[in-house]
């Protein structure tokens, strides 16, 4: 079971998929593409791993345990 966490006003919205369920994978992949278009940035990590063990990814991988989506940053 993989999970995406998209930071938002609720804390984060969670989307899950099962590696043995092509339908959920297709949904997650479509969402991944949409969020990339929205300029959000995906970081993959093993569940519970600290930030310095995370990795920026550019394509959806259903075998990743968790993807945390953050927003682009700017100087304030």
């Amino acid at each position: 079971m993989g999970m995406m966490r998209i930071l938002d006003e609720t804390g984060d919205t969670t989307i899950t998929w099962a590696v043995d369920d092509p339908a959920t994978i297709a949904e997650a992949e479509a969402l991944f593409a949409r969020l990339v278009q929205e300029r959000k940035i995906p970081f993959a990590r093993a569940a519970g791993a600290p930030a310095d063990a995370a990795e920026k990814i550019s394509a959806f991988d259903p075998n990743v345990e968790e993807i945390v989506w953050v927003r682009p940053i700017a100087g304030g």
């Binding site: 006003e9 804390g11 990795e55 927003r71 940053i73 700017a74 100087g75 304030g76």
Partner: protein, 215 residues
């Protein structure tokens, strides 16, 4: 116990005069004593012992050497050279309360964001966050402290006596619970530090405290 303290002159004179009213004296964890009077008044007496930082090898940021018990001469300055301290309110510093009221970030959202942030912190950062609501992130350019919005402290490796005040925020950050803002900045800093420094705006710089932590 009240009698023992009074006999040993452990209470200030002003309290000794009220000795008849003392009904209980409790030892506080920091070494001071709580004195309870019969009319329900409570007074804390004594000097608090400094607490050790829970993380081995780390000191409190505000830790100072104990002050000298001797009187020190007062340094006076000519009236003309005094400059009043001005505090300029930055309305952006009220983000937390503004976020809660205007954007309706709920307590549940704050809690959820806090859980995600804690899962992204290493044990040292987590201990720092629990105590100070801030934490350091190591980068190739030197550590950055996340915890004060719009005023992120950066200690460049090549300027050992100086620290820079940077401002970096996620897009539409007013929508996010504060812990999500830190998770956002933490991931970028930890994985793509150059992107962080590319967009960072420097708001100022200052000398580092001589006893500042090494991170």
């Amino acid at each position: 116990m009240a009698e023992r303290l009074l006999e040993g002159n452990l209470l200030p004179n002003s309290l000794s005069n009220m000795a008849a009213d003392v009904v209980a004296i409790e030892e506080l964890p920091d070494g001071r004593r709580l004195v309870v009077f019969s009319d329900r008044r409570e007074i804390v007496v004594g000097v608090a012992r400094p607490r050790a930082h829970p993380v081995p090898g780390v000191d409190w940021l505000w830790a100072r050497p104990p002050s000298s018990p001797r009187a020190r001469p007062r340094h006076t300055t000519a009236p003309g050279s005094r400059r009043p301290i001005r505090t300029l309110a930055d309305e952006r510093d009220s983000i937390v309360s503004r976020t809660r009221s205007a954007r309706r970030v709920t307590r549940a959202a704050e809690q959820r964001a806090d859980e995600l942030l804690c899962s992204l912190l290493d044990p040292l950062q987590r201990a720092d966050w629990d105590v100070n609501a801030a934490f350091w992130v190591e980068t190739p350019r030197g550590p950055v402290r996340l915890g004060h919005l719009y005023s992120l402290i950066h200690r460049p490796h090549d300027r050992l006596d100086q620290e820079l005040i940077l401002c970096v925020v996620p897009h539409a950050h007013h929508e996010l619970p504060i812990a999500d803002i830190w998770s956002n900045l933490l991931l970028v800093l930890a994985v793509e530090p150059e992107e962080f420094f590319r967009v960072a705006i420097q708001r100022g710089s200052r000398r580092r405290a001589p006893d500042s932590p090494g991170r």
